[in-house]
Subunit: 318 residues, 2 copies
DNA sequence: CACACTTACGATATTCGTAAGGATT
DNA sequence: AATCCTTACGAATATCGTAAGTGTG
């Protein structure tokens, strides 16, 4: 016993039309096709569903009993596959991103707006968290993917660089360091310093570099918002170091910046995904748009100048 | 897009086993069959359900999302057809009979017991009502079939005789009428009469016959229970007329009966069904057992002596 | 004869199993 | 080398449409 969808469709159509002729028209099939489909169905369920009156078909008590069930089965079937289709065609779904604050407020919003314009029914969720939390969220499947620096000790995760940022020193206009084309890290020791809070990945990198070259910082204070750093530096309280991407965000008068060298520390930013765990169709599309955006803004607007560009594609799961 | 049951079964089996090999074993199919079924399903729904790792299969987010739905669809499918199968194999169902009191208490109980023994899960309902109500219940689909005399003005109903009863005069032992082999109707006028209530079909027939032959009855009283008629006659209060089948039910000492003639009025009892409205599988089986029972009791036990036997079968709906 | 369903039969489409071909461990 | 999945291809099965058959009004 193995009835098919088509047989059930035939049954419902005939039951509703009380006629093979009408039913066959509605299903775009020939009359004999329906006749045989019904016959086979009846054979498989072990009894007559219709009484044949040589002139017309009537439901048997069993057929009448079964009809609502049959209609529900077909409707459920249709709904389920429609729903799945909607998921794949990105008319439904949810994407959760975990990104460093820099990227979350810099690179991502434009892409999200673009994505939402194309796929308005996809629910988007963006978490701007610190690097460790980005890693954790991706690992624990609380985010579809992450945007951050390369994670440490992460065999289960995959990192795909999309762009290299670098650190710049941020000074008020007229500051002596601005006389230089490039500023060596050790010169930072000479001036009061406004620091980002110690949990941020860029601050951790700053501390690491200073330790390596044996220098130290004259930290005036630590603040948590990048915008605050900008205002304090503009007010002449001191200098600071920021990733160039972050600097672009604080469009404030009275500030300028110079790249830091000796050593030149690239800050490689990229996509964190789970190994052996495919992205949803929607997430993959969003990721592709994100990479396209990096590419475009670099090529056409030059706004990511001095950032190396990676063109290696997202790991595809096809 | 037209996914099949088998494709969905393949999907669920593979999702649960995370392996084509295991799934193919569970479904008693070859590995390539499953592989292709999955491939076709993915093509039809417009996206990958599994990520192929060359070593093992893992659900994509869409696949994971769809799995519970798929399992529910299959379960519902299975349940629905199991249920329909139970209906046809008479492991489930309901039969409602409307029968004249005579038949309900005489012929039917033994058959019902037999039927229930064979099909204990079928719900049986027996209504012993008067002839008009039998007709009404069948017509209004409140009963699957009726057991009664032939209905009047019933183009929508079908009557299939199963046995002919006849009327007998019931007398106390030693009564003068018992001296005759057969008693003419007109002789009923000579003695006090115990009548059945006027709504019963047998009483209506009695009144009709008496009117036709221009006789009258000396009615001592009307009672509603046949057993009461028996006791009153046995007590010597009068005589009565009953269908022979009813007489058989009152096994009371001190009574005897003789067939009534001039005219010989057969009382043709049979099955009432709706035209153009098939019986359920269970009802048809019960009806067949009923007819078999009439046949058997006539042939082997002779207990329906003097009743003509109809062997014409139940109208079959096959 | 017209109408509606069923049966017959050849054509098409789908599904299946065996055999062969990767890819990974 | 062993395991697992995929592809290739011929065979079996199921489904379909045209044409012919049956029964009723």
């Amino acid at each position: 016993m193995n009835p098919s969808i088509k047989q059930l469709q035939a049954f419902v159509a005939v039951a509703q039309a009380s006629s093979l002729a009408q039913a066959s028209e509605r299903l775009h099939l020939s009359q004999p096709a329906i006749s045989i489909a019904l016959k086979n169905l009846e054979e498989q369920v072990g009894g007559k569903l219709f009484s044949r009156d040589a002139r017309q078909l009537n439901l048997t008590p069993e057929g009448r009993d079964f009809l609502p069930t049959a209609m529900r089965l077909l409707q459920d079937w249709q709904d389920a596959f429609d729903d799945l289709g909607a998921l794949f065609s990105k008319q439904r779904g949810k994407v959760t991103i975990a990104a460093l604050p820099t990227l979350a407020s810099g690179l991502v919003p434009g892409v999200i707006a673009d994505f939402h314009h194309h796929y308005p029914r996809i629910n988007l969720s963006l978490h701007d968290v610190l690097a460790d939390q980005v890693t954790a969220m991706v690992r624990e499947e609380r985010a579809d993917f992450g945007l951050s620096v390369a994670p440490n000790h992460a065999e289960d995760l995959e990192f795909t660089p999309i762009l290299d940022d670098h650190n710049v020193v941020v000074c008020p206009l007229g500051h002596p360091l601005l006389a230089l084309e490039q500023v060596p890290w050790r010169r930072l020791s000479d001036y009061p310093f406004i620091g980002i809070h110690r949990q941020s990945s860029s601050r951790q990198q700053i501390d690491q570099v200073m330790a390596e070259i044996g220098g130290s910082l004259d930290i005036l204070c630590d603040v948590s918002q990048i915008a605050t750093v900008g205002r304090m530096v503009a007010a002449g309280l001191g200098i600071s170091v920021l990733p160039s991407l972050s600097f672009r965000q604080i469009s404030l008068e009275g500030l300028d910046h110079r790249p830091l060298v000796e050593p030149l520390i690239p800050r490689r930013l990229g996509i964190i995904t789970r190994r052996r765990s495919p992205l949803s169709s929607a997430a993959r599309t969003l990721l592709e748009m994100l990479q396209g955006s990096v590419h475009q803004s670099s090529v056409h607007q030059g706004s990511l100048h001095q950032s190396s560009l990676y063109q290696s594609p997202v790991p595809r799961s096809e």
